[in-house]
Symmetry: D3
Subunit: 129 residues, 6 copies
């Protein structure tokens, strides 16, 4: 059953961003390999694989939370890519961050938008949506 | 045109939660009436009225941001009601808050869920969705 | 194996604070029962049961994090009891919170200490350490 | 010289809010008396007694910081009184909190204004400015 | 009247930091041009142009809020320049950030001061106050 | 007696990380030299020198608080070195940050672990524990 959670989590992680799933594994390998497993099992396997919300909506939830917190720019970058990979349109991402200005202040919105601009340009260069 | 923003904002505010719009007006009347106007014009009229995201998705953005921040319980209560008023199912709200555990920690998720439980009970008592 | 994680988590949760484990179950039952299971499995079963840190040190980590964040007073209360239940002396808890003043500011320290004072008094009334 | 810091700090603390200085002493007496001394010496004696900013401006700094953080409502209440005691006009406090909406979001501004409204009413009842 | 808000906002934005106003326009042009307009209208036109606080005090409010939050270094840099442009003396800015140590912790104060040191050096190189 | 606090603070600061104590002095010299003195006296002399907690535990408190806050990466780097200098094993630091995932979210844990990985590599290169 653990096996199931891990496999389901890995599948979800790869669907969101295959490259990032590998990068996270690599980054944690030398320092906290168990945490990599917990993240795959709990975050991706338990929570993000739940059927109660469409995966695109889940990415909007994550973008909203991370941009409002303002303390997780590397993870915001990951989920900008994930959101685009699962079909959230760029224009919707921009709407989300504009709305964050109301609840977390204009700097939070701007910092998220500056990062989005970078990610959009990187993806343009790779021919991605 | 100001007039337009104000009217559009008020319409959006009332669609989200008529009672709360009146309560906010009342609360700010004696202390910062101009802020009430700015909130109607900017938050509701400029941002929340934009067509780029369905209103239900906008409420999910707000619930995500406020629960992750953990510093705005009164506004989280308001938007729990607003989300339900515009048709976000209770089960989806619970999914949003469960997902917040991954990004902002389990206490943030729990405190949002405890509040949701209260709001759901209040609405049950009034026969609301 | 899931069974193992759940049982190990429940054991750890009960060792920290039996009453609170039951209260959490009760609180989430009607709204997000799966989250209760994830918390037992991931937070208590995966992380807090790891042998790499003494349980008393783990409670000091939690008290430090929650008091610095300042957004999780209900959970800070739970872990004040848990810390005392597993043998962290009251005087050490007070030292932790005084130190938080340096890193998160004096208000963060004061609000944690005020809560500690309440919890200490409640436990005095019950004849607990 | 310690004596000097303590005396200078106490003088500043009392000038800001005599009642609150006594209440803080009382609150910390049974739990962290040394912290009371450090707060008087460091916060009030070292920092808030420095001549580089007028005391009214210092209170505006504190109100701005605490309202933006949103995790220190008890201390925000104390400094609302202190600000008024040292002559910051109510209208200026309202301006400060309205401005916080831009940088920390509208909920942060609203929660500070709701508290200000309470404090203003309490002071009206006592015939204070 | 919209026209008035926009023009008033632009005038205020330029008085604070002409270069930054242009940079913000440029940065948002390709991604969220409407947000640029809202920021000019709401932040600069509605709030920062209000007569209730001297512009130098408004910059002190902003520096206090942003340094306490610790999540908006790019905006803190902008407002360090704005504060100096409207006549806040460097020594007062240093006092503000030292005071932040009391309320948001010593790291918040240090990170703001390190940034101030950079901005002061950049302005020295340009012969600015 | 001030002299005592300053000397005691400097001794503690040097025991934690001699190089960093010098760097902090250097960094603040040109901008806020009094803050350097207050930090030595209050943070290091008053709080971190108190006998109520072992110095290794104090570093665990600091690592927990700073990683949970997520707004003080430069200071987290300093205290990673300090913790290792006073004998906290690398494996325990990793445990602390993994536990932070539960209370402040997975991004907070990851960002602290990425920094730890850097610091561990820097120390490997210098032959330090």
């Amino acid at each position: 059953m653990e096996e199931t959670r891990y496999r389901r989590g890995l599948e979800t992680a790869r669907k969101l961003d295959e490259e990032n799933a590998a990068r996270l594994d690599e980054a944690l390998k030398g320092i906290a390999p168990d945490l990599y497993r917990y993240i795959v099992e709990f975050a991706f396997g338990d929570i993000l694989s739940r059927p109660g919300l469409p995966v695109a909506t889940r990415e909007i939830v994550t973008l909203s939370a991370l941009s409002a917190m303002g303390t997780a720019q590397p993870q915001l970058r990951v989920h900008l890519n994930a959101a685009l990979n699962v079909g959230v349109p760029r224009a919707q991402i921009v709407e989300v961050f504009m709305q964050i200005a109301v609840y977390a202040g204009i700097p939070a919105a701007l910092n998220a938008l500056y990062l989005a601009k970078e990610v959009f340009a990187e993806r343009d260069a790779k021919g991605l949506s």
